[in-house]
């Protein structure tokens, strides 16, 4: 069940909000755990047991890590390592086994067999989230959670369960035990959720359809500009999809009294790729920084070592995004660009006119999205070919069609990528304009409902022809 489904909006959410606010305060964590497990089990009825195993394992081992962290550092570390190994085995088995087995078979080792098990939804997110707990305990950055139920509520919490943000235990530990439920929080939550819903349903899905159509065109129908329109639409899709989902998660969190950290900060206005990665999927970047890059030594052991560390982080980042070579390549590509920026490019970027730095950044990002969009490497090459003129056509009637058909969508997407809504141009931020908030909320929900219902529109046209 995704947030942008009718089941979520018109069955699950109202039921959860009603129950959550009707029960006494000290029942709210148990309620949160139960409804979150229900949420997970709804889509993954069998894998919910893996989730429960993960919760109990991290909680128990976390307890052991904390118990010995002062008296017996070695012992504490052994528990920590055990916990990490179990977490990574779980993730490795479900997410990467088939990829590993298929590559082994390609090398002639037919003993390995893909299991075709299907990936438990959100396992990449909740495993990382849960792992932060024993590590932070070992580092003494937080104290163990006494209640298994509260810990379970933290790991499974449905707003961020399937697509992040990756909430670290330390960031939310206090709120788990005590949080305020205010009308202001709920109001902010509604605004944030509605914005996220619009991003996902109105922008991301529509842009995605255009990219899908363009990438399915026969080579004879491609042209340079058509291919660029297609990949720019994908660029919009992936941002509004992911950041929209994060907005909805943050909004739902606020409705339940939680404050999650931000996950996106207008990444497409960056003036360098380094800056882009400080603004894109921040919770993941922070996770890798705190739990991989810095423990590896970060920048404290000389430039050569730092470069190796950056490469390791980006190999892992790429691989985290999916068990396929194109994601590895995507990560390596970013690793190389970031190292280049660190070594010399950043200096030049600062001296360039700022528009040029922005163009450079978006160019790199868009090329990287081509690597990300197609798991099949021959398709990556073919699409890059279309973008750079392999067809010998700059544009044709189809280009005009795609522009014309999506003109408003493109304009809205461009504006929504910039922080213009955070400025005084946004009348909703003025005293008088605030009156529009309830009206626009209602209107947005109304329009989103139409788009979601329409997605299931399936006229039976077999009577055609």
């Amino acid at each position: 069940m995704v947030f942008s489904s009718l089941t979520f909006l018109f069955a699950y959410l109202p039921a959860v909000l009603a129950v959550y606010y009707l029960v006494p305060l000290n029942w709210r964590n148990p309620v949160l755990l139960i409804v979150s497990l229900f949420f997970y089990g709804w889509g993954e009825p069998v894998y919910v047991f893996i989730m429960i195993f993960s919760i109990v394992m991290n909680w128990v081992l976390g307890k052991m890590v904390a118990r010995y962290r002062i008296s017996d550092r070695e012992k504490s570390k052994r528990f920590l390592i055990l916990c990490m190994v179990l977490n990574l085995l779980l993730l490795g088995f479900f997410k990467y086994w088939d990829f590993f087995a298929e590559n082994m078979r390609a090398l002639g080792l037919v003993f390995f067999r893909p299991l075709k098990l299907g990936l438990p939804i959100g396992i990449s997110f909740y495993t990382f989230q849960a792992m932060s707990y024993p590590i932070d305990l070992y580092r003494g950055e937080t104290d163990p959670q006494k209640s298994l139920v509260s810990f379970g509520a933290y790991v499974t919490m449905f707003p961020q369960l399937i697509a992040g943000p990756i909430v670290r235990y330390t960031d939310i530990a206090r709120q788990l035990n005590q949080r305020d439920h205010t009308m202001e929080g709920f109001y902010q939550g509604i605004k944030r959720f509605t914005v996220g819903l619009c991003k996902k349903v109105l922008l991301a899905n529509s842009a995605g359809q255009v990219f899908e159509a363009v990438s399915a065109l026969a080579p004879a129908q491609q042209s340079v500009l058509t291919a660029w329109i297609g990949i720019i639409m994908y660029t919009f899709q992936i941002y509004f999809d992911f950041s929209g989902y994060s907005d909805m998660a943050i909004g739902l969190g606020k409705m339940l009294g939680f404050d999650f950290l931000e996950n996106f900060n207008y990444p497409y206005i960056s003036a360098s790729v380094t800056e882009f990665w400080r603004r894109w999927h921040m919770s993941l970047s922070f996770w890798f920084r705190d739990y991989v890059y810095i423990p590896l030594g970060g920048n404290r052991h000389g430039l050569a070592r730092q470069i190796i560390n950056i490469m390791i982080v980006w190999l892992l980042t790429g691989f985290w995004h999916g068990a396929s070579w194109n994601f590895v390549l995507w990560g390596v590509f970013y690793g190389i660009v970031l190292i280049a920026e660190k070594l010399f490019l950043l200096k030049h970027l600062k001296n360039m006119p700022s528009w040029l730095a922005h163009v450079y950044t978006m160019f790199v990002v868009i090329i990287a999205w081509v690597l990300f969009a197609f798991t099949d490497f021959s398709k990556v090459l073919a699409y890059l070919g279309f973008m750079f003129g392999s067809t010998g056509r700059l544009a044709d009637g189809l280009t005009v069609y795609y522009l014309h058909d999506n003109i408003l969508l493109i304009l809205v997407c461009i504006i929504a990528c910039t922080p213009v809504a955070k400025t005084r141009l946004n009348i909703l931020r003025t005293r008088k304009g605030r009156a529009l908030v309830p009206v626009l909320t209602l209107l947005a929900l109304f329009v989103c409902t139409a788009f979601i219902v329409d997605a299931s529109y399936n006229p039976f046209l077999y009577f055609r022809f």
């Binding site: 018109f10 009308m183 129908q221 529109y457 399936n458 046209l461 055609r464």
Partner: protein, 369 residues
């Protein structure tokens, strides 16, 4: 406005909105059939443990929930309306053309399929020692091109017909574009078919190229004015007005006996009961059947065997004045040898009548033998 009031109102709107529709869904009745979508709507998913554990439950539930969502058609129309207002030129690949006309996009075709299908036809005709008459009808994107919104892009169907003509060099290719100039009046406004005027020109072309005679004259009688066709359904643009369906009356009346699939016989090529259904185009020869055999009292002693899609149906009222026997074959359903139907080659006209876009993608020609 006071911040407190804004907060309260927003909260009220949000809770009220999702609350109202949640409750409305609980109490709204279940619909079995969607008229506009022309299909059976999903029913409640099975609550058996096995189904719940299967992993499909989530999808099945959402399918049911959205199929039965309160005022479903209204939401679909609203989305189409928003597309239109946003400056989009189409919704679900149907153009919003001038005067409420809805036109199917025809932006690409599969050259391989076209060549394969032409090859099958050529081979079949050669094997049976007969010359085929081939009529490929361009779609409304050709005929009503003048009505298309700015920015619309389609392939040049007149060019495609010329290309196809070369593939059928050994057959008698009937070039529709020689007989008809592009005109919106040849097509329904809300359906993907040509209408009685378009089909008349097809008949005229066939009379000239196959029968070598002048066409007969006909009069028209409107039998329904609320035909909302496939494009109406596909576009979601339910605000557009409907089309008319008419009966096509020859100057000299013709009696017919129509046998459907070898199973039952009617004495009219029109199916009155279909006028009460969604797809009123089925008024002509009762829609899609594997095999339709029509005997007429037209004293011509000529037979026609039509390998066809539904574009041919509206031509039948014209053709019954020319043939004493017409056999219609739909290769989607009819997989027996067609060669047995054309043994009397002297008196039989073998015709292939398809819409151009369908002929470029229909995989069922493979059943022709």
């Amino acid at each position: 406005m006071k911040k407190k009031l804004t907060r309260k109102l927003t909260l009220g709107c949000f809770i009220g909105y999702i609350g109202c529709f949640t409750i409305a869904n609980l109490f709204s009745g279940s619909r079995d059939i969607s008229y506009n979508e022309n299909r059976t709507l999903a029913s409640a998913p099975s609550m058996e443990l096995q189904h719940i554990l299967s992993g499909r439950f989530d999808d099945d539930f959402e399918k049911w929930f959205s199929d039965q969502f309160v005022a479903r058609d209204f939401w679909i129309e609203l989305k189409a309306g928003i597309r239109r207002l946003s400056g989009a030129v189409e919704n679900n690949d149907v153009y919003f053309a001038r005067d409420g006309r809805l036109i199917q996009r025809f932006a690409s075709y599969n050259e391989e399929t076209l060549k394969t299908n032409a090859g099958i036809v050529n081979e079949f005709c050669e094997e049976n020692g007969i010359t085929g008459n081939v009529l490929l009808v361009p779609t409304a994107a050709w005929g009503a091109a003048s009505e298309l919104p700015a920015g619309a892009y389609d392939i040049d169907q007149a060019d495609l017909i010329n290309d196809a003509a070369e593939l059928f060099a050994k057959q008698n290719f009937i070039r529709y574009t020689d007989y008809a100039s592009p005109s919106p009046s040849l097509y329904f406004r809300t359906d993907h078919h040509w209408n009685e005027k378009g089909a008349y020109l097809g008949y005229e072309a066939l009379a000239d190229k196959v029968l070598h005679k002048q066409p007969n004259s006909f009069t028209y009688e409107t039998v329904s004015t609320d035909f909302c066709g496939t494009m109406y359904s596909q576009s979601g643009a339910f605000w557009n007005s409907s089309d008319s369906i008419c009966r096509i009356i020859p100057e000299t009346p013709v009696e017919t006996t129509v046998n459907y699939d070898g199973q039952y016989t009617e004495n009219s090529i029109y199916s009155e009961k279909r006028l009460n259904e969604k797809d009123k185009y089925m008024y002509y020869t009762d829609g899609n059947h594997a095999y339709i055999s029509i005997q007429t009292d037209a004293d011509t002693n000529r037979k026609a065997v039509l390998i066809k899609d539904s574009y041919s149906h509206i031509m039948i009222p014209y053709l019954i004045t020319e043939y004493s026997e017409i056999t219609m074959i739909d290769l989607r359903y009819y997989h027996s040898p067609v060669s047995q139907l054309i043994e009397d080659k002297e008196n039989t006209d073998l015709c292939f009548i398809y819409s151009l876009d369908n002929f470029c993608k229909d995989p069922n020609l493979a059943f022709l033998r």
